[in-house]
Each structure stands twice: as structure tokens, then as C-alpha cells.
């Protein structure tokens, strides 16, 4: 179990995160927040790249700083900006990372081909990574995070650069993995985690806004999400009065999905989704 115990992170006079309290047990956790909210900072503290200014992070009750390499051996991390060695092929790169993770040569010989198959890179395992596309590089990043079968998988924007087919494959990999491990994913693509996350963590104003299941979070907007057709000549005035979460062009107007506390004539109430909550909670940041 990973416990984030009253953690605050400050950089000089600037506070990035304040009094974060979380307990993570095996399962998938989606970390949702706009850019600059502190998602990466939280992830970097979990993987020991940065230290909390106040509070501590514990693994099974023991501070991770005290555990040191014993803790890091249980962690797999994919950063938001995943770097690589251009002159290496994916096999060599995974071998290097595996060596840093303390995985034996014999285990690496088993794991690397399997992982490369999982991320559909087995056929290009001998090709230098400088010839890879962004999506292929990202898949190498996912593979290296999975090396050593870590207990804690921290993935910062893992689906960035992946096409829909690859994202579907990725979701399938994660679902299999999450049975026995903690998987923490940060993403802007709500649909990537909505279906697989056991719990969603939303950060707002440097603090945890929500840390709960999708249905529970969506409950907060129950009775406030509507859909209706708005003619083109009314669209602008409508948009200025209501928070629009999505729109689809039709002949003569738009099918609008919007959030409001006051019922609108002609609008049909619909069950709230996670994306609705995201856009509602972060509407000020989005406008900015």
C-alpha cells in the first residue's frame, strides 16, 4: 500500500501541491487535472525524483526515502517527456534500463521479447530508435516502465502520441496489469481511463478535489447535465449563458451538451460523465 501522508511541495515561495493525502492499493488510479495543476510534481515525488517539502510518502508504512533502492525496485515510471538513446535499438535500451533496475540477464532475456511483443515492437527490435516515430518511442517508454513487473506503475500521459488502436491496446495491457499492482496514470484523455480506472484523483487549487470512483464523482453533477438542439442564431447567446461541454454540428444548428443548475426548456437531462465533471470543475482554468 502506498500512502501519501499530508504532503506539500513548495519551490521557494511557490506552492505546487498542498496537504495531499492519498492511500493507494492495487488498482488503476486516474490522475486528472489541467496542465500545471501538480500532477507531474506528485508523480515525481512518488518515484523519488523530488522530495516533499512537508509530509512523507510511505510504502507499507515505511518512508520511501528510508527504503531507497528497495522501494525504487518496485517502481516503473514513464515520464511525460520520455527521452531515449538515438543510437540504441529498443532491445539495447530495455537491456540498459533493465540493468539499472537490477534485473538479471536471464530474466531480461525472457522479459524483453515479451514486452516488445506486448507493445508491438518485436519486429523492429533491432532498429535504431532514431528511426522511430513518436508513437513507437512512447511504446518503448511503456515497455521500459513494465520491466521487472513493478508493484507500482506511474505513467505520466502514457497515451500521448498513440493512435486509437494503440490506445486501445494500451488500455488492455493496463487492465491485465492492474490486478496485482498500483497503477497511477495521468492523462488529459478522459476516455482512456474512464473505463478502466478504479478511482479518479482530481487535483484543484493544489489540493485533492476528488479521490473516488467514477460513478461517485459523476454523482456531483446529477441533474445538471443536459442535451438539446440549439439553432445557429441562438448559439452565441446560449454559449454565453451556459457551460457547454461538447457540441456536434447539425443542419441549422448544434446538438449541445451543457451543464446548468437551472432547467432549460426543451433540454433533456442526461447522466453525467467524467468529462462533464472535469470540464465543470476546471472551467476557470480552461477559460484561462
Amino acid at each position: 500500500m502506498l500512502t501519501i501522508d499530508h504532503v506539500t511541495k513548495s519551490y521557494g515561495s511557490f506552492t505546487a501541491l498542498e496537504d495531499i493525502q492519498l492511500t493507494l492499493s492495487p488498482g488503476v488510479y486516474g490522475l486528472l487535472a489541467p496542465n500545471g495543476a501538480g500532477k507531474t510534481t506528485l508523480m515525481q515525488m512518488i518515484v523519488t525524483l523530488t522530495r516533499p517539502t512537508v509530509g512523507e510518502i510511505l510504502w507499507d508504512g515505511v518512508p520511501i526515502e528510508a527504503l531507497g533502492s528497495e522501494y525504487r525496485a518496485r517502481v516503473g515510471y514513464l515520464p511525460q517527456q520520455f527521452g531515449f538513446y538515438k543510437q540504441y535499438n529498443p532491445e539495447q535500451f530495455l537491456h540498459y534500463i533493465g540493468t539499472l533496475k537490477g534485473i538479471s540477464k536471464a530474466q531480461l532475456r525472457e522479459q524483453i521479447p515479451t514486452l516488445l511483443e506486448e507493445v508491438a515492437l518485436f519486429d523492429v527490435r533491432k532498429k535504431k530508435m532514431k528511426q522511430f516515430s513518436g508513437g513507437m518511442i512512447q511504446r518503448v517508454g511503456i515497455a521500459q516502465a513494465l520491466l521487472g513487473q513493478p508493484d507500482i506503475l506511474v505513467l505520466d500521459e502514457p497515451t500521448a502520441g498513440l493512435d486509437p488502436k494503440e490506445r486501445a491496446r494500451f488500455r488492455s495491457i493496463l487492465t491485465k496489469l492492474a490486478r496485482n499492482r498500483i497503477v497511477l496514470i495521468s492523462t488529459h484523455i478522459v476516455s482512456d481511463i474512464e473505463s478502466i480506472a478504479n478511482e479518479i484523483i482530481m487535483i484543484q487549487n493544489k489540493r485533492i478535489r476528488y479521490a473516488h470512483t467514477v460513478p461517485h464523482i459523476c454523482q456531483s453533477l446529477q441533474g445538471q447535465v443536459f442535451e438539446m438542439f440549439v439553432p445557429d442564431d441562438r448559439y452565441l447567446s446560449f454559449a454565453s449563458e451556459h457551460l457547454i461541454v461538447s457540441e456536434r454540428q447539425q443542419t441549422g444548428g448544434m446538438d449541445i451538451r451543457f451543464i446548468t443548475t437551472h432547467p432549460v426548456q426543451g433540454a433533456q437531462e442526461v447522466p453525467p460523465q467524467l468529462e462533464d465533471v472535469f470540464l465543470f470543475e476546471y472551467r476557470d482554468e480552461v477559460e484561462r
Partner: protein, 410 residues
């Protein structure tokens, strides 16, 4: 850790720039050997004769053949000395072709000349020599006094040297005008090349993760930031190997081509080792091969210290070229600082106890007459002091690196 060190070494060995610099260094050293006219002509003559025949092949011998000073009983042919016989024949326009005679004559002249040099050396006054050095550098006050305090040690060593090492002799195809060529120019080149390559590869390896944006992944792995210890060990291994390689290929080639086994066991402080005003007298009774080994050892120590300094600087500045420039700037500053110190201050003398002075002054390692410092313990004091300073810098650099929040810089 061993596997990680192996992986880091592979990184360096996969860099083209490493091989480019190494080959340039070898070519430069090869060019030096080839362009050293004296040595080349000497080699041709040397290759014509066999060991153990002692043949005087030095250009200076031609000049010294005109000297009449003979300290030992000269060899005679009848009433005349061999030299007199030879001269008489020349005067009559005759050419003596008797090989045995010519061999004896050569050895006679060789011996006479050796005795003359030895007596000249023995007549040296240590305190006068020290004053000469003081005047040459314009030293006054405490600076001059600091040099003069070495006179007793110099006198003690000098008297032993004259009694034991200076009288020795060896196959004379080698050391005239070669001490500076071998231990000065070539060794200095080898050391400077090795230092430059060392700085570059150490800075490159230490900054590698930041420059490839892999630091987040690497530092969050099991080994964590201790990967930098592996990089330090790898740098030591590659830098030392580079230095040994350059040393063996350059200095080794020189020794294999231009020296003979009889030289190897002769004293460096022998009377033959004179180049103009330069007196190459060592503080300790080193033979030629022992002195070569000492050169190798001191050079290797310098390389190790340069690795540590560069590694420490790179932990602060994770950028290869900035760190490289910073280390080179530090070495340059250490070299020029004495120029800004008063010539009457003893600080001027102590300011020369730097790695830079060692790197530039390879011909004078463990030599008695080496300019600013006449200190018999100059080399090890400099290495020890440098090791302490670099050790402190490295300790704080490592501590700073371990504690720093790591964030990839865009």
C-alpha cells in the same frame, strides 16, 4: 554495479568523437616522432650497428671530437694517442680504414668526453645554481628565501649523485637532446591529449542522461542517482585506458625504436644527460626505465584527479560542453595565477603546486632543477593537495546532486 559500469563504458565506446580524438592524438604524436630530425638520423645510424658494440652516434660527438681534455690515461698507439694518430693521418690526407682502430678511437673519444662532462658536472656549485634560478625568475624576499631553503637537501642529493650515478655510462645513442624530446615534448603531448579526452568523456558521460532526457527514467530506477557513481568508475576506466594506450603507443614506440637495452638500465642522472643549460638530475636514483615508469605513474594520477574534478563539475552543470570548458578554464587559471602574484611573496612558489604545473612540466618531474620549485617532494605534495581539494569538491558536488529535486529541463 559492475554490469552498470560495463553499460556506461559501452556508451563511451560507441561515441565516434572518442575515436576521432584518440586517432588525432596518435597521428600528432607520430608526426612528432617523424619530424624529430635528430632522432631520425640517429636511428639510421643506430640500425647499422649491433649491440653490444658501443658506438657514438650523437651529433654532439662530432663537436666534442675537437676537445682535447682527457681525464683518463689515453689509449696509445706507440708514442702517440689514438686521437693524435687519427689527426696525423687526416693531416696527411690519409684515411684510416682499420675497423678495429676506428672502433677503439670512437670508444676513446667517447670515454674522454664522458669524463670531461662528468668533471664539469661535479664542479657545479649548488648554491650558485640556486642563485642563478632566483635571478632568472627575478625572485626577491620571501620567494627567494623559500627556494634557498632547499639548498641543504640539494647539496646532499648532489654529492650522492656525483659519487654514484653521474659516473655511469651507457650505449650513447639515446639521451642527448632526447630527454626533452621524450620526457618533455612527447610525454607532455601524451598527457595533454589524455587530459583533454578525459575531460570530454567524463563530462559527456556524467551529463548523458540530462542531455538525452532520460534522467527521470534513470534516476527513478533501482540504482537511482548512484548511477553517477557507475559513471565515475566508467570514466576512470576509460580515461586510464586511454592514457595507457596513448602512453604505450607513443612513448612505447619511441623507446622501442630509438633506445637500446643498455640505456634502459642506465641512470637518468648520468653525466650524459645534458641538453645545453639543462641539467637532468633526478632527486632519486632512477634508471631510464624506472623514470619512464614514474612518468607513467604520475601521469595516471593526474588523469584520475582530472576525472574526479570533471565528474564533480558535471554534477553541477549537466551540460557536456559547459562542464568541459569549466574544467579547462580551471586548469588554465591555476596555471596563470602565479603570474599575478608578487615575486617577493612565498605565495608565488606555493601557487605553482598545481596540476597545471605538473601537466606542463613533464620533463622536470622529480628533477632537481625545475624552476620555481626546487622542492624534492613537489610532485607528491601537489598530487596530495590536489586530491584533497578535488575530494572536497567531489563530496559537496555529490551531496548537492543527491539532494537536488530532479526535473527535466525543457
Amino acid at each position: 554495479m559492475r554490469r552498470i559500469v560495463g553499460q556506461e563504458v559501452k556508451k563511451v565506446l560507441s561515441l565516434r568523437i572518442f575515436y576521432i580524438f584518440f586517432i588525432i592524438a596518435l597521428l600528432w604524436n607520430g608526426l612528432f616522432l617523424w619530424n624529430n630530425d635528430y632522432v631520425r638520423s640517429d636511428v639510421k645510424r643506430f640500425l647499422q650497428v649491433n649491440e653490444p658494440q658501443v658506438v657514438w652516434t650523437n651529433e654532439m660527438m662530432k663537436e666534442r671530437q675537437k676537445m682535447n681534455q682527457q681525464a683518463s690515461e689515453p689509449l696509445r698507439k706507440g708514442e702517440m694517442t689514438l686521437v693524435e694518430v687519427y689527426r696525423q693521418a687526416l693531416n696527411k690526407g690519409n684515411v684510416i680504414e682499420d675497423e678495429k682502430f676506428l672502433k677503439l678511437l670512437t670508444e676513446e673519444v667517447y670515454w674522454d668526453h664522458f669524463i670531461a662532462l662528468h668533471e664539469q658536472r661535479a664542479a657545479l656549485q649548488v648554491d650558485e645554481k640556486v642563485e642563478q634560478i632566483v635571478r632568472m625568475y627575478g625572485l626577491t624576499g620571501n620567494a627567494a628565501a623559500t627556494l634557498r631553503q632547499h639548498i641543504p637537501a640539494l647539496e646532499m642529493r648532489f654529492s650522492k649523485l656525483i659519487a654514484q650515478e653521474a659516473p655511469t655510462h651507457y650505449a650513447p645513442n639515446a639521451l642527448f637532446s632526447q630527454h626533452d624530446a621524450l620526457f618533455g615534448k612527447l610525454m607532455r603531448a601524451v598527457l595533454m591529449e589524455s587530459v583533454l579526452i578525459t575531460i570530454l568523456i567524463t563530462a559527456l558521460l556524467t551529463s548523458y542522461e540530462r542531455e538525452h532526457r532520460t534522467a527521470s527514467v534513470v534516476y527513478s530506477s533501482t540504482v537511482g542517482r548512484k548511477v553517477q557513481i557507475a559513471k565515475w568508475l566508467s570514466s576512470l576506466f576509460v580515461a586510464s585506458s586511454t592514457y595507457v594506450g596513448l602512453f604505450l603507443l607513443s612513448i612505447g614506440s619511441y623507446i622501442a625504436l630509438y633506445t637500446t637495452p643498455s640505456l634502459w638500465t642506465s641512470y637518468v642522472s648520468s653525466s650524459w644527460n645534458v641538453e645545453g643549460p639543462n641539467l637532468f638530475m633526478t632527486w632519486y636514483p632512477f634508471t631510464f626505465i624506472q623514470y619512464v615508469s614514474v612518468q607513467w605513474g604520475i601521469g595516471l594520477s593526474i588523469i584520475v584527479l582530472v576525472v574526479c574534478l570533471t565528474w564533480a563539475i558535471s554534477l553541477y552543470w549537466h551540460q557536456t560542453y559547459i562542464a568541459t570548458a569549466a574544467v579547462i578554464a580551471i586548469l588554465f587559471l591555476l596555471f596563470i595565477v602565479p603570474a599575478f602574484i608578487s615575486k617577493s611573496s612565498s605565495l608565488l612558489i606555493y601557487a605553482t603546486y598545481t596540476l597545471s604545473t605538473l601537466i606542463v612540466g613533464t620533463a622536470h618531474w622529480l628533477m632537481m632543477w625545475k624552476g620555481y620549485t626546487l622542492d624534492p617532494h613537489f610532485e607528491w605534495k601537489t598530487l596530495l593537495l590536489s586530491a584533497i581539494m578535488i575530494g572536497i569538491i567531489s563530496f559537496y558536488a555529490w551531496r548537492h546532486f543527491k539532494r537536488k529535486d530532479w526535473q527535466e529541463v525543457e
